[in-house]
Amino acid sequence: MSKHAVVSQILPFSCVDGPGSRLVIFLQGCNYQCKNCHNPHTISLCDACGDCIDSCPEQALSLIHSQALPLPQMRSQEMSLHGDPIPVNHSPCSSPCSSPSKPHIVWDSTKCSQCDTCLAVCPRQSTPKTSHYTVEQMLEVIYGQRHFINGITLSGGEASLQLPFIIELFSAIKSSEHLSHLSCMLDTNGSLSSTGWHKLLPFLDGAMVDLKAWQQDTHHYITGRDNQPVFTSIELLTQHNKLYEVRLLHIPGITDYEHDVDALVGYLSNLPTETRVKLNAFHHHGVKGIGSTWPQCTQADIARLANQLTQRGVTNIVLPSLYI
């Protein structure tokens, strides 16, 4: 049986998610709780409480009780693939998903006006605006775009939480006559375990990994998780020549890239020369809670960080293509 995924969004054309023109598939659900998250509603999975239904001005939302909806194959077994075993404060969709008689939220995208009232209402900071895709359905989407893209990128949320779907999708692409020219990339927070990576590696062309902070403490403060698994992932990807990009999201005064610049550079300069070191600038768009009180990162902040890295010998730095 084909795997399913809970998809929060499909972006048909992106210039910033890997080489060339890319179709980006954002999967719903994340095991981090970043205070600086720009899409906090992609973190939790909907538990079909129904609270958002009446708030929708377009009647785009409803509850159904059948098992017609395919269920995402994630959780217990996949969660264990992620380095950090600490349970996060959401238990993604296990209740609605494992019990077909329980209700599911149905979102009619043709009625939706994208007013985002439902996001504001949701007590779980989730979204009802997700869709379920089987691997076959996703392959159809990709097939329709194949002349326009150089590849696909799985992003999130944390895409690797739905690893079996990704493996099946990537392997189907690699073995398809019409799609095998497409590169398959993963955009990840780096929490996937070595076991998980080894299952994916045969079908993966490259990964973009977030290194959200240098120090364990800082990383834990920002994301709620340790960064040891991230370093392990980066090393493993390096060994297998699959590390396309390491991403540093700079928040002046909060991230420690500048404070620990020597140690950071020592680490980054040992990465393969082809690996891009992508600097991203923190901005407030979408950010909730304390993160929205942090300073935004300006072009000058990025320039200063880039300068410090370059002076100490980091090559292949990629700057943001725009600042908000």
Binding site: L11, P12, F13, S14, C15, V16, P19, G20, S21, R22, E58, S109, T110, K111, C112, S113, Q114, G144, Q145, H147, F148, I149, N150, V318, S321, L322
Partner: protein, 522 residues
Amino acid sequence: MTLQDNIEKIVTHPHLSPKQKSNYLALEAENSLPYVAVSERLNNAMKQGIICDMFEGHAPFKPRYVLPDYAKYLQQGSEYLELSPAEDFDDALNALTILYFHVPSVTNIPVYLGQLDTLLMPFTQGLDAEAIYRKLKRFWILLDRTLPDAFMHVNIGPTDNIICRTILRIDAELQQIAPNLTFMYDPAVTPDDLLFQATSNICQCGKPHIANYPLHADAFDARGFGIVSCYNALPLAGGANTLVRVNLKEVALNANSIDDFFAQTLPYYSQLAFELIEARSAFLHQQSHFFDSFLVKEQLIDESRFAPMFGIYGMAEAVNILQALLPNAAEITTTNVASKPNTGYGHNPDANELGLRVSAALDNIVKSTLVTYGYNGRALLHSQSGISLDKNVTPGVRIPYGSEPDPISHIQALAKHHQYYTAGISDILTIDETVKANPQAMFQLCKGALSSGFREFSANVANNDLVRVTGYMVKRSDIETFKQCGSRTNTTGLAAEAAINTGIFQRQARVIAHEQAPFIHE
């Protein structure tokens, strides 16, 4: 306002140059003559804004667009201009520059400067790359400074050659408004790295347009074609005698059902458009003496290669209006189309299907209607990209501003229309500026567009200073200062007018407007 008031306003205008004033004065003079004779019904349709003559003037004494056979001219020289055949590169550039001043058009500035690489390659012997670069760069600057109109169009490609590559290099370097540039792409001939250079240029300066060479070439005979002004594809050694356009939105408003639209309204107004085409081209061909010109005598143009363009615009509004006439269409009204970005023309498959039916019907009408002065006796269908005074009506078959889907869905929604618009169609894609750091993405998007049937791929990169005003380029910074200072270029005035009329800069990095219109700015 009386004629004298108008003239007074023009001559005392604070921001127009003497030359620009002369052009507007000439238009006023022409328009003081009675209009070519037309029927009452046509006159009404024009008054109601259903049929439009593009403000070409009351008494057409020159064709709208002229595409001289520059190759023949370089080869034979000109008796009239007392020029012997060009012998070297400098001769060729000099001869071309001279002829450009004798090629009329609706704007008085030539809209077609030739397939420059094919024209110049025979004269490159003995020149090294650096010499070619220096000469062409000077020529490029001369064009921008002496013929400052962004409708003026150079064609290059599809073959790989040093002129083509050098022009691309210079165009990216100079970032000038003029000349406009079309690169012909033929997958069988053009190497990928050349297309890559062209599409990388788009990331830097919004030019060139990429034309689907095999598609265009199939539509014309062996003597060839050129891309001129804003995406007008026309026979080489000929051109367009006139452009008459039909406002599909208004046509749809006059229909009481979809069937009525196809059976009655559309054919009715199309016939009126043909009446206007006949009246205008009869004056040009029979009374103006334009075709006594040396251009004809020296066979640089041929009267039989001029075709009227049958233009259409407002497809998006027409389709949404017609969809609302469906019995079960309670939900699809124009108002909620506006509030729901993913419904209506460009988004909804049924709406797109209906749009395609309209294009097919137009194609059928244009191909089955004989005209007195046409290309093989026919007019050519053109998706017209709007003029600066259009309000609440979308150019050609485009998706309305601000509601465009992502570039790929955009291309897919419109690709099937392209087969019908022989005389050109422009869909401008707005790509966000992240593409600048990833030109591979632009390249792939372009390839995808052409392989799905696009005749012409045009893209604007948001936040480039050079922005496309439908078919031509203006500098954003020029538009912003136009009201205070006037502009050296003729097109910036139009663009400023368009930008003010549509508030376009508040939405997308682009302005609408089109060809020269005889209006001056308050």
